[in-house]
């Protein structure tokens, strides 16, 4: 009733008055938000979609927004995702949240959406089109942090094996650049081998098993996430001592680490981006629709698991999932304000 009255009143009064009143009223209850996602075929993406749905359904139920629908393209193709975004424009969504297949190839579709008055927020796989918001992770720092951890825990240094992600993807280049920068600053470490594991444990296992016989003793394996468990399997199959393997927050990796820790005091760390960043993207879109001032470039911290909180993080991670942090509206506001 109050809303109806309010609208009648606003329509009857001058536009300027309405505009002056609006910022104090959080009215996004009629707004529709869509998620455009390019890929769903691994555990991280599944967790990301799950977080989105859980958070989005709750928001719809609470009347914060009218819809929070998720759409995933079948083929992980840029053209397909561009068409998907165009459909969303036609369907009248007020905001589109994107995990993009390419940082620049979707810019045309994103610009179209912006021109139609739609708020576009990209995360994880971000887009470079200036009209969109970007929620990025400092992947380079993430790679560097791995080597910094090693330098602290392995002062004598040693040989490193690097497992990279999917060749040609921006994230892979960034993390790898960070790792190499870290190794340069800590010359007691030498990267003696580098393979591409595509962030998948079976691919990593295969690649590591192939290169391992030709390598000298390995002190540690630096990774990008999703590949640690496969590396461990490959070392075991080759009958070599298990080195320190940096993990990537997947449940199978954390569980393996826990088993080793209980058995022989195995020490490592685990770092990745929390799939719940999709919920942060949701709230950023909601805040922009609400008229809040949101900087175009936001950075989210990565999620790190250490020796002391392994048990706690493992317990909170479902089987087959990824260690996660979901954002509430208040937490999202803190990130927006740079806290």
């Amino acid at each position: 009733m109050t809303t109806a009255k309010w609208i009648t009143l606003a329509a009857g009064t001058a536009l300027a008055l309405a505009a002056a009143l609006q910022p104090s009223v959080a009215d996004t209850s009629g707004k529709k938000i869509a998620l455009s996602n390019n890929y769903a075929g691994n555990s991280w993406r599944q967790a990301m979609l799950k977080s989105w749905t859980k958070n989005g359904d709750a928001a719809v139920k609470a009347g914060v927004v009218a819809a929070a629908d998720a759409f995933t393209t079948a083929e992980n193709q840029v053209t397909e995702q561009a068409a998907q975004i165009q459909n969303m424009i036609l369907q009248g969504y007020d905001a589109i949240v994107i995990n993009a297949a390419s940082p620049d190839a979707l810019n045309g579709a994103v610009k179209e959406a912006c021109d139609a008055g739609i708020t576009v927020v990209s995360f994880d796989g971000i887009v470079t089109e200036p009209c969109a918001w970007r929620i990025a992770v400092n992947f380079k720092q993430m790679g560097k942090e791995e080597v910094i951890y090693l330098a602290k825990n392995m002062p004598e240094g040693g040989n490193l094996l690097e497992i990279r992600g999917l060749a040609g993807v921006f994230v892979d280049d960034e993390i790898s650049a960070g790792i190499h920068e870290g190794a340069k600053e800590n010359p007691q470490f030498k990267i003696v081998g580098s393979v591409h594991g595509d962030w998948a444990q079976d691919v990593s296992q295969k690649a590591v098993a192939g290169i391992l016989p030709s390598l000298p003793e390995i002190a540690a394996v630096v990774t990008q996430g999703g590949d640690g468990y496969g590396a461990a399997q490959a070392f075991k199959a080759a009958g070599r001592p298990t080195p320190l393997i940096i993990m990537g927050n997947r449940q199978d990796e954390l569980k393996w680490w826990k088993e080793q820790k209980d058995a022989n005091g195995y020490k490592t760390m685990s770092v990745s981006i929390a799939p719940g960043v999709s919920t942060l993207a949701f709230w950023v879109a909601q805040q922009v629709l609400d008229g809040a001032e949101v900087p175009k470039d936001l950075t989210v911290p990565f999620l790190r698991v250490d020796q002391h909180d392994l048990e706690e993080k493992l317990a909170g991670t479902e089987v087959g999932g990824v260690a996660n942090v979901e954002y509430s509206l208040d937490e999202a506001k803190k990130v927006i304000m740079g806290k």
């Binding site: 691994n42 691919v203 098993a209 192939g210 391992l212 496969g230």
Partner: protein, 318 residues
């Protein structure tokens, strides 16, 4: 002297010899680079991983032999689906290893039947039919597993990773499977019918071969082998994951072609599958060992594969 030359010529006419030769040369280049370090372990690893490519390669080879347009693109999805379902049902129980195997094979059989249903009843070309069914199967695996990674029963993990004097037990079993499928291909009515259909479908029909039934059996075989591969790979790599089959789409076709089987159908080559699978693994290992950048590695992989196929194909015609 002359007889030695004749023998050499006879050997070079075997289309599968080129894949083995290429595998050997790549291995040699690798161990020269490492100065002999790890030469045996590299071969052992190559045998382990080649095993999985060979399993799906056998099915794909039968399908491709059926003639132009026949290919099974649903192999990766079937592997993922069979792996996910069987791991979840076995739930790390040793007692469930055999029921799990039956379930994995059953998943394969269901997909194979569905594939052929699309091809036959709806008259969709195989390449489209198997591609679209792979979307459905992959989605089913995602809906069923939701990224779940359940460990295999210890007995299955032990079996798939067991080695006898460095030789993987599973590889020995799959060599046996390859021999068996070779006999089926060359010595049974079914196998000969597959080849006959690939050479000339109309002639095969007129000769009284039930083309529909043979094609059905072949798509079924390919999917069942994909199910088996998903089951074994899940055991080998510590659980089923949603993207575990992704690599095996191109791998299954590549080992068939590099192994000397004719893409146009009607002429197949089983021993070549092993040579090609070893070659594919050793090639990646060699380029990784050399420490080349990813872009350069991909280019070289392409160039070398084209080279081997041209060499093998060129000799065949002469």
């Amino acid at each position: 002297m002359e007889s030695a030359q004749n023998r050499l010529q006879a050997v070079s006419r075997l289309p599968w010899i080129w894949a083995f030769l290429a595998a050997f040369l790549v291995w040699l280049a690798t161990i020269i680079f490492t100065q002999g370090q790890g030469s045996a372990q590299i071969l052992s690893a190559a045998l382990s991983f080649a095993t999985f490519s060979v399993i799906v390669g056998i099915g794909q080879m039968y399908v491709i032999t059926l003639g132009p347009g026949n290919v099974d693109l649903s192999i990766p999805a079937t592997m993922t689906f069979a792996g996910a379902v069987s791991m979840k049902i076995m739930d790390t129980q040793d007692a469930m290893v055999l029921p799990g195997l039956v379930i994995a094979l059953g998943c394969g059989a269901a997909v194979g039947t569905f594939n052929f249903g699309l091809i036959r009843a709806l008259r969709i070309p195989p390449i489209i039919a198997t591609l679209s069914s792979s979307f459905l199967v992959q989605s089913a695996a995602i809906a069923y597993g939701r990224g779940i990674k359940i460990k295999p029963p210890p007995m299955l993990a032990e079996f798939t990773t067991y080695r006898i004097a460095g030789v993987p037990l599973l590889a020995i079993c799959v060599v046996g499977l390859a021999v068996l499928m070779g006999v089926v291909l060359h010595r049974t009515v079914y196998g000969r019918s597959v080849t006959a259909i690939g050479q000339n479908q109309r002639a095969a029909e007129l000769a009284g071969i039930s083309v529909g039934f043979i094609r059905f059996a072949t798509y079924l075989l390919s999917a069942v082998l994909a199910g088996l591969c998903g089951y074994l790979l899940s055991g080998f790599s510590g659980g089923a994951s949603l993207n575990m089959g992704a690599e095996y789409l191109l791998a299954s076709i590549a080992v068939v072609v590099i192994g000397g089987t004719s893409v146009a159908g009607g002429f197949s080559n089983l021993p070549g599958l092993w040579g090609a699978a070893l070659f594919m693994f050793l090639l990646v290992t060699m380029l990784n060992t050399f420490g080349l950048s990813a872009g350069f590695r991909l280019i070289l992989t392409g160039v070398i594969i084209v080279g081997v196929i041209t060499l093998a194909g060129g000799r065949k015609q002469s």
